[in-house]
């Protein structure tokens, strides 16, 4: 027989004003299984907690019900008190007679009766409570960072500098990401590559960081502290140990006219290439889809020129499995497809470019070596129109969000343009100026006031070519929406930042969730902004939503601190509120029949298949098994199970059943 102690709290006057606490305690004392029942002014106070601790010892209690405030408030307090007295904390439950009773009903007999009802049901539940023990899982102290942009670089360095091993995976031949493509950065206008490249080199040289470029994460299994990642290292067709990065092969390649990804199609590269001069690692790869040898079986010019004989045409992709304890996803973003703007003529007119292309035009390492020259004829444009919100905040085109960075980089573009072309005129069509960072608004004001960039509030309706000029038809909504027509030499579209093309597949491989724009979803928009719903996987940078550099770096450091905190322990303890699939004696072994309905229902992919075998190894059946490392205890699987083979500890079928039935017990 259970020996349950009931402790009714007055909460000063908070409960006692409307509920007769003494009566509640007395009524509960009569219930079966209740060994002790008492009311007290402040249960959560130290003397109150002492009361519980002493009763547990003296009365030899097997369960505790504290009738007081909401369990969301003090459940941890009272469970701790029980644990201190030697009672398993999960044998303690709270009955909420304050928020759900005394505060919402007037002082009356009925209110007291309701309070008794509430305590009664919890007593019924506690009768069925089982002692539970925190789940302990070991931690592999290696972090996997996916994506080698600024966010990934920062996260990798922070984690590595804290003394842990890091594996950094980048799908391009070099790390650096979009930041490496930028000219200068707002609001300080310092050179992007100058501040980034030292960090890239640091990554490459860090003893704790293993760098895999030209590689992709294919799958991730396991759970927090114990992941296994499958990484595909695409064949670079180069022996990296032998290659010195001299670049002879690059010069030798006869295919030269491939649009350069790094220059956003404004420049070209050969089939064997180093994406940009400061690349890390500074060694070439062969783009097999473009290489003449791989297409026709003939050529091998690069091979003949290589002084160290490092070219390997027969190299295969290599797939490796690595064990990691935490994952930082920092895969970044991309800019919107060109076909998106038929009315802006992108793709139709060469001199209509995206913001990222304009960065390359401005960049000293870009195709024009930093001179502002337009793509069509290389002339210096005297009139440049910048169009913000090109795609962003446009529900008709499927993107209703603000891309956040465009206002700032457009101001920067206009300003840099004016710095380089003194007699040029820059126009910016905008809807709102969102410059909400340190020094940001001042920066925009500077563009307007000092560099005389003409800001026109209105959206552009159409861009078309007339007599060799690009005509921009907009309106000035601050002048009664009067139509404005500008004959420009060049148009720059501040295209929306969107999720990477492969975001969906990656999310599925990692079992993390993503929103309808395919940005990865954080665990809580306010309080857990860098965590995902899968414990042990964190988000940094623009893969979660468009972000500027300081924000990405800040987030990256935040994920690093999360990872380091995780790695500060050798073992993880987790709340034992998890689901369990039953096991029983042969020949049944488990009542589970393996329909795996629970598997599709589980939001955390916590349900695995387990083959049950007899002692001699013959397969009896395949049943479900809950991975306690992944299970978060929602219990969705429990309600689905037809044969009731799966149960949730802490909210078990027996407990919930007892609670409901007790409501109507006389």
């Amino acid at each position: 027989m259970a020996r349950i102690g009931v402790f009714v709290c007055h909460c000063g006057e908070n409960i006692a004003a409307t509920v007769d606490c003494e009566k509640v305690a007395k009524a509960c004392a009569q219930l079966p299984g209740v060994a002790y029942s008492i009311d007290y002014k402040y249960m959560c106070s130290d003397p109150g907690q002492n009361l519980i601790r002493e009763a547990i010892k003296e009365k030899n209690l097997t369960g505790v019900v504290v009738a007081a405030c909401s369990p969301r408030m003090h459940e941890p307090t009272f469970r701790r008190a029980c644990a201190e007295a030697g009672l398993n904390p999960y044998l303690c439950e709270m009955a909420n007679i304050r928020e759900h009773c005394s505060w919402v009903h007037p002082k009356s007999e009925e209110t007291t009766l309701k309070a008794i009802d509430i305590v009664k049901t919890i007593i019924a539940k506690v009768r069925k409570n089982q002692p539970l023990y925190p789940i302990k899982v070991p931690v592999t102290k290696t972090a996997l960072v996916i994506g080698g942009g600024i966010a990934g670089i920062q996260a990798a360095l922070d984690i590595a500098n804290a003394g842990h091993r890091v594996i950094l995976v980048e799908k391009e031949p070099s790390i650096g990401g979009h930041m490496a493509q930028l000219s200068e950065t707002f609001p300080t206008l310092d050179c992007s590559q100058c501040i980034l490249t030292p960090r890239m080199v640091e990554v490459a040289q860090h003893p704790s960081i293993t760098l895999y470029t030209y590689a992709e994460v294919e799958s991730l299994t396991g759970f927090i502290g114990n992941f296994v990642a499958r990484i595909r290292k695409k064949a670079k067709s180069i022996d990296e140990k032998l290659c010195t990065g001299c670049g002879e092969c690059v010069n030798a390649c006869p295919i030269k006219k491939i649009p350069s990804e790094f220059n956003m199609g404004l420049g070209t590269r050969p089939a064997i290439y180093i994406p940009f001069p400061q690349a890390v690692p500074n060694k070439p790869v062969i783009d097999r889809s473009r290489c003449t040898y791989f297409r026709t079986g003939k050529c091998r010019f690069c091979e003949s020129k290589c002084p160290t004989k490092a070219i390997r045409f027969d190299q295969n992709d290599e797939v490796i499995n690595v064990q990691v304890g935490a994952v930082v996803v920092a895969t970044g973003f991309t800019v919107l497809e060109s076909t998106f703007f038929p009315e802006y003529g992108y793709g139709q007119y060469k001199d209509v470019v995206t913001g990222l292309q304009f960065e390359r035009i401005l960049s000293a390492s870009g195709p024009t070596l930093g001179e502002v020259r337009r793509p069509s004829d290389g002339a210096i444009p005297k009139k440049v129109v910048f169009i913000t919100c090109a795609g962003s905040r446009d529900p008709a085109k499927g993107i209703e969000y603000c891309s956040k960075i465009c206002c700032m980089y457009t101001a920067k573009h206009a300003m840099l343009y004016k710095h380089k072309v003194h007699d040029g005129q820059a126009y910016v069509f905008y809807m709102d100026i969102r410059a909400t960072g340190k020094g940001y608004d001042e920066f925009v004001r500077r563009a307007i006031e000092e560099d005389h960039v003409k800001y026109i509030r209105g959206r552009v309706s159409r861009v078309y070519e007339r007599n060799g000029k690009i005509v921009v038809c907009g309106a000035d909504t601050l002048l009664g929406a009067e139509p404005v027509e500008i004959e420009a030499d060049m148009v720059v579209l501040a295209t929306a930042g969107v999720a990477n093309p492969g975001a969906e597949e990656l999310a599925q491989a990692l079992h993390i969730s993503y929103d309808r724009h395919r940005f990865f979803t954080e665990a809580h928009p306010k309080l857990r902004p860098v965590e995902t719903n899968t414990a042990g996987i964190f988000l940094a940078g623009a893969c979660q939503s468009p972000k500027d550099i300081p924000e990405s770096v800040g987030q990256a450091s935040a994920t690093a601190s999360k990872v380091v905190a995780l790695f500060s322990r050798d073992e993880l303890t987790r709340e034992p509120i998890v689901a369990v699939v039953n096991r029983c004696a042969p020949p049944l072994y488990s009542t589970c029949v393996g329909c795996f309905m629970c598997q599709t229902a589980c939001p955390y992919s916590a349900i695995e298949r387990e083959e049950l075998r007899t002692r001699d190894g013959t397969l009896v059946k395949t049943v479900a098994r809950v991975n306690p490392g992944l299970c978060q205890g929602c219990g969705t699987c429990v309600a689905f199970c037809r044969s009731k083979s799966i149960d949730l500890q802490g909210y078990s079928n027996e407990q919930m059943y007892a609670e409901v039935v007790e409501l109507f017990a006389e």
Binding site: S461, A475, V484
Partner: protein, 185 residues
């Protein structure tokens, strides 16, 4: 409740309740005004009309109905095709026109355009089909623009583009229940 009440009395309320058009969606980007082929001639640009509807007060509603703009809309759908918020502006203009007509708030300079529409519909009413000669004669009487295009007419006749006798189709008079509105002109 309060909101429903409000909706019933204003133009934007009518637009929402009758057609499900949400003028609140407009965030004043001005793309409609920027692309409108008739904007230069309008007194209030399309985006301003939407702004005034958003305010939801009597003064602005009246101003909108009295505006020249609503009669200048060509229903070319350039605005709605490019509107990022997918507002069916030509349809809004349709509603505003019939409301302006109902309340007899037609802009003085738009009287001839209304006359054109009425002449047009009267011709259809009479003959079932459009008969340009009949329509233009009525239009000229209504507007006293007797000399407009007179030089074109003989050429049109010569080229066989104007017919002296109207084509007829069986009466579709049963459709003309809008007569009441016409009488208010």
């Amino acid at each position: 409740m309060l909101q429903d009440q409000k909706y019933r009395s204003t133009l934007s309320g009518t637009l929402y309740s009758k057609l499900g058009i949400h003028v609140e969606r407009c965030y004043q980007c001005g793309k409609c005004s920027a692309g409108c082929p008739a904007a230069s001639a309008m007194d209030l640009k399309p985006s301003i009309i939407l702004r005034m509807l958003q305010v939801e007060n009597e003064r602005y509603d009246r101003e909108v109905l009295q505006s020249y703009t609503i009669w200048l809309c060509l229903s070319c759908h350039t605005c709605s095709t490019r509107c990022p918020m997918e507002i069916d502006i030509p349809r809004v203009m349709d509603v505003l026109r019939s409301e302006s007509l109902r309340q007899n708030l037609i802009h003085p300079r738009a009287k001839d355009i209304v006359a054109f529409h009425v002449s047009f519909l009267n011709t259809i009413k009479r003959f079932g089909r459009l008969w340009e000669v009949g329509m233009i004669v009525e239009y000229k009487i209504r507007t006293r623009h007797f000399f407009q295009d007179v030089l074109l007419a003989p050429v049109l006749f010569l080229k066989g583009k104007l017919t002296v006798v109207p084509h007829k189709c069986v009466s579709i008079k049963q459709l003309f229940t809008w007569k009441k509105q016409e009488s208010s002109l």
